[in-house]
């Protein structure tokens, strides 16, 4: 237990020292929020109703698909993995610490967005904050599980960068946060539903069974993929 607590606290500190994670978890999402928040709410004032969930989905997706997996590849795609095993540091501890630390960073980002959006752009707060945070937590966990698949599957940073974009871009473009999903052709809606962003966006706007099932299905697939990739890592 002591090792788990120390390992997680250490990962938190390492994340704060890492410019890459700060850029993808804070700087870029907040810049995007500052820019797009202004544009969206000026061009379409009705966007004030959905600004908080849309910006949160964008920020969490970026942190989970682009930020967090780089920390995983740094360990699992290099000699660090071997050294940790040699040093008696369980590989599972690193995975757990990275996921937990990223979860906390993404929660902080979401709180910043939640506080800043009404102040700067007059955005509406969610009707129920506890339900919003429950939806946010579920969406973040599912996104991180998919990010973990990317981090464990990629053998190096350059491949990860490519694959992460393949997940991140359609996730954002087809989730409904940039424009309503019902304006998209049916195949693109189906494609968008393969990513957690579409379901997370709906869940944050109102708790429902369908988004929960959608996220649950993605989580189940991601966990299964993680188990298979983990076995490969262990070998």
């Amino acid at each position: 237990m002591k090792a788990v607590i120390y390992g997680t606290a250490l990962q938190w500190k390492l994340d704060l020292r890492s410019r890459a994670l700060l850029i993808t978890c804070y700087l870029v999402p907040l810049l995007f929020f500052a820019l797009m928040g202004g544009i969206f709410t000026s061009v379409m004032p009705e966007m004030k109703e959905t600004l908080i969930p849309s910006m949160t989905v964008m920020g969490v997706s970026m942190g989970a698909f682009i930020g967090m997996p780089t920390s995983l590849v740094e360990i699992y795609g290099s000699d660090i993995k071997k050294l940790y095993r040699a040093g008696g540091i369980p590989l599972g501890l690193s995975l757990f610490a990275i996921l937990l630390s990223s979860f906390l960073h993404l929660m902080i980002l979401s709180v910043i967005l939640l506080v800043a959006a009404p102040v700067f752009f007059g955005a509406s707060l969610p009707e129920s904050l506890p339900l919003f945070f429950a939806a946010l937590s579920i969406f973040t966990v599912v996104s991180l599980s998919l990010g973990a698949v990317l981090g464990l599957a990629a053998r190096n940073q350059s491949r990860l960068t490519m694959v992460s974009q393949l997940f991140f871009l359609p996730s954002i473009m087809l989730s409904g946060i940039m424009f309503p999903q019902n304006l998209l052709p049916e195949p693109l809606i189906l494609l968008g539903n393969l990513f957690p962003a579409a379901w997370g966006y709906r869940l944050m706007q109102g708790f429902g069974i369908r988004p929960l099932l959608g996220l649950g299905a993605i989580l189940a697939i991601a966990v299964l993929a993680c188990v298979l990739l983990w076995r490969r890592q262990a070998e």
């Binding site: 002591k2 090792a3 120390y6 390992g7 250490l10 500190k13 390492l14 020292r17 890492s18 740094e74 360990i75 290099s78 000699d79 660090i80 071997k82 050294l83 095993r85 040699a86 040093g87 008696g88 540091i89 369980p90 501890l93 070998e235």
Partner: protein, 273 residues
């Protein structure tokens, strides 16, 4: 396996696809000795070490280890932003122990404890890796190329550390390309050739095995004479008696039987043929 044996390896086999890397290794390492694993590139040293270190699965055979192990890997890396004391604390907490101040002081870790790993010099990284291997006070220590990339001072310091560990009863398994290092430190060596043990014994036994002759260099006021012989006692006695009879004072005597590197190369060439 008796109580004095630290590691016993029996019929160890390992293949990568159709390529057999280890073809039935059999040897044992005694407690408290420094044992070197030698061989040309591709002989199977790293695979054998990694099997012993439980970092690689093997196909057949057995490895019995009598004690806790510590491992210093050849190619080591850590997250660039981590600091030495942080990774030592992490390893110590995983081993349910605490960091010994003596360990930190003797390896000079304090001098760079607040420096991030990416900014450490090669020597500092090597010392940190050794500290990581020792943090849980293991009985058996694996050192893979411990002085690679170090300057003379760094090598000397690390050699002193290794001797200090031996004096404390640690068993040390060393893999090194530096024959001078092996000769200076090791009690016994094993030479791997194409996945089998071609030789296992003391460095002087290897010299005997290769049939190296003694080279005697004797200096007098009249000059230097050189002799090669298999019988050092008789030859030296005869030479000295002769000089005494002629009343020629001997100024210097040097006896050399070649370096471990020369014997290893000779042995490797012979085995290859």
């Amino acid at each position: 396996m008796n109580n004095q044996t630290a590691i016993r390896i029996s019929d160890l086999r390992k293949s990568y696809g159709n390529h057999a890397v280890l073809r039935g290794l059999d040897f044992s390492i005694e407690k408290g000795e420094i044992f070197a694993l030698l061989g040309v590139n591709g002989a199977g040293k790293t695979t054998a070490l990694e099997c012993m270190e439980d970092l690689r699965r093997f196909d057949h055979g057995s490895i019995v280890i009598n004690g806790r192990i510590g491992i210093q890997l050849q190619n080591s890396a850590l997250p660039g932003h981590i600091m030495p004391m942080e990774v030592l604390k992490l390893s110590a907490s995983c081993h349910k122990t605490s960091i010994s101040p003596d360990l930190v002081d003797s390896l000079g870790i304090r001098a760079f404890e607040k420096t991030q790993y990416a900014r450490l010099s090669t020597g500092q990284k090597r010392r940190l890796m050794l500290a990581l291997a020792l943090v849980h006070d293991p009985d058996i220590l694996f050192l893979d190329e411990p002085t690679a990339g170090l300057d003379v001072e760094g090598r000397s310091l690390l050699h002193w550390q290794i001797r200090r560990l031996k004096s404390r009863g640690k068993t040390i398994i060393l893999a090194s390309h530096d024959m001078a290092e092996v000769e200076a430190l090791c009690d016994r060596i094993a030479i791997l050739h194409q996945g089998t043990i071609a030789f296992c014994g003391t460095p002087s036994a290897l010299t005997e095995e290769t049939g190296a002759q003694y080279a005697i260099r004797l200096t007098t006021k009249q000059g230097t004479i050189r002799h090669t012989t298999n019988n050092i006692t008789d030859t030296l006695l005869a030479l000295l008696t002769d000089f005494r009879k002629k009343n020629i004072p001997v100024l210097d005597i040097q006896v050399d039987r070649g370096t471990l590197e020369e014997h290893f190369l000779k042995f490797a060439r012979r085995t290859e043929q």
